[in-house]
Symmetry: C2
Subunit: 266 residues, 2 copies
């Protein structure tokens, strides 16, 4: 746990999600705020789905609340409350951060994909030329697909139990990144040398793999968005096959600089 200070002049940031106990943003960003000399705290707020539409605007109306982080399952649903969107958020219709501008309007953008790519860079993993398979076309999946295409992967196969989400994302990315071959698939393809779980599978106790991904070769790069104390099923699978991997924690820490720059740019 992070040591922070709070008084009447403290500025609030909140992470909204359901569930909420697992989130790490309160610890990390409260510490980063303190390191930046800000009197600010990031608190967890457990917003129930049926309360979401009245709660979010009420939180944004708090005069001392300067920013929000959105996590599962709200990254797409929160978009309608932004006054304006950054390029990534606008392209994929999902965001994970909102900041209050000095004029009281709200700017949203999405940093999950950037965090994933930065984590790969930090670990020295090459993304360019990869044939990637992406499981999950929700907010995080759309963000990662977008940034992987921008990073020069050769192809992207998108699988989602809600097939129309995969189709929509494929169309968006094909239009935006014509150099990348993008397709919505019913199952993960055989030739992939990169597999990313961008679904919530792995969050709950007893979860297995998001799909039957079979044996992995050592040059397969495996990624996961689930932030977990212990390795998630797909990361354990990657470790067993001696594969390079990017965890949800890597993605989380990979976006911290960009997210802090975003919050402090208001």
């Amino acid at each position: 746990m992070t040591t922070v200070k709070v008084n009447g002049a403290t500025r609030l940031y909140a992470i909204i999600g359901d569930p909420i106990v697992q989130v790490r943003s309160p610890e990390l960003y409260t510490e980063l705020f303190a390191a930046a000399g800000m009197n600010a705290v990031m608190v967890p707020m457990h917003v129930m789905p049926e309360e979401f539409d009245r709660t979010v605007p009420a939180l944004m109306a708090l005069e001392n609340l300067d920013g929000l982080i959105a996590t599962v399952p709200y990254k797409a649903r929160v978009v309608r409350f932004a006054t304006r969107l950054g390029n990534t958020a606008a392209r994929i219709g999902a965001l994970n951060a909102l900041r209050r501008e000095s004029d009281g309007t709200w700017t949203g953008d999405m940093f999950d994909g950037l965090g994933f790519v930065r984590a790969a860079e930090r670990k020295g993993y090459t993304l360019r030329g990869r044939r990637a398979a992406l499981f999950g076309a929700g907010g995080a999946g759309r963000a990662i697909g977008c940034e992987l295409a921008a990073a020069g992967i050769e192809s992207l196969s998108i699988v989602d139990p809600l097939h129309e989400r995969a189709v929509a994302l494929a169309k968006t990315l094909a239009d935006a990144f014509p150099a990348c071959r993008v397709a919505a698939m019913a199952t993960l393809p055989d030739n992939a040398d990169m597999i990313v779980n961008a679904s919530t599978v792995g969050m709950r106790e007893g979860d297995g793999l998001p799909a039957d991904i079979g044996a992995l070769t050592r040059d397969t790069l495996v990624g996961d968005v689930v932030v977990s104390e212990n390795p998630t099923p797909i990361i354990r699978h990657a470790m067993r096959h001696d594969c390079r991997h990017i965890t949800g924690r890597d993605m989380f820490y990979g976006q911290q600089d960009a997210l802090m720059a975003f919050f402090t740019a208001a």
Copy 2:
């Protein structure tokens, strides 16, 4: 400032008011929560009057928000959001604390008057038999009037620029405490040996006394509800005349035990 810890499992308490930067509850109660072994934090929330009615129920719908403190100007206005009220809050139609019960309902009660009386006890000041003049019949004034009458003062004269508020409080207290002579007055009476400012006069830079209270004799007990770093105008006036006095800070700290007991009784 108080040192606290925060993570995804942290339970939230909030103080709602307008303005908010001056409040001390975040520091005090966050420290008391930590001392009690709770993973909980009290954060300031600046709620604008025009947003109050939609913001408060939205906050109460946050699954990890367990309590609220209401301060100026919301102590009366927040009553409608309580499922049930303690005796004092029910009598005066104002509260300063709300807690979530295990069944999700909300209990409210008012501790300002108790805090004031406890502060007097701690300082060894006698209240019984006093002829008190009370300036301000808002939430804090009603609470203090109620507890002073319960503590056995001889008489209570109530002055408020909104005269009907003074009349309503006088009626409530006369009914509840027939042994105490209670009256709504246009000006502070001459024979008072206790003067309490329960208005917000003194909160703002440049404020003077809440009314022309003239010279004070040394046996006059002076009280103020305004919590301030430096002595407020009425407390400075009392100090100049060498009078015993109870400050807003005394009242604030006087209610901490009762308020913690209230919050942890859910």
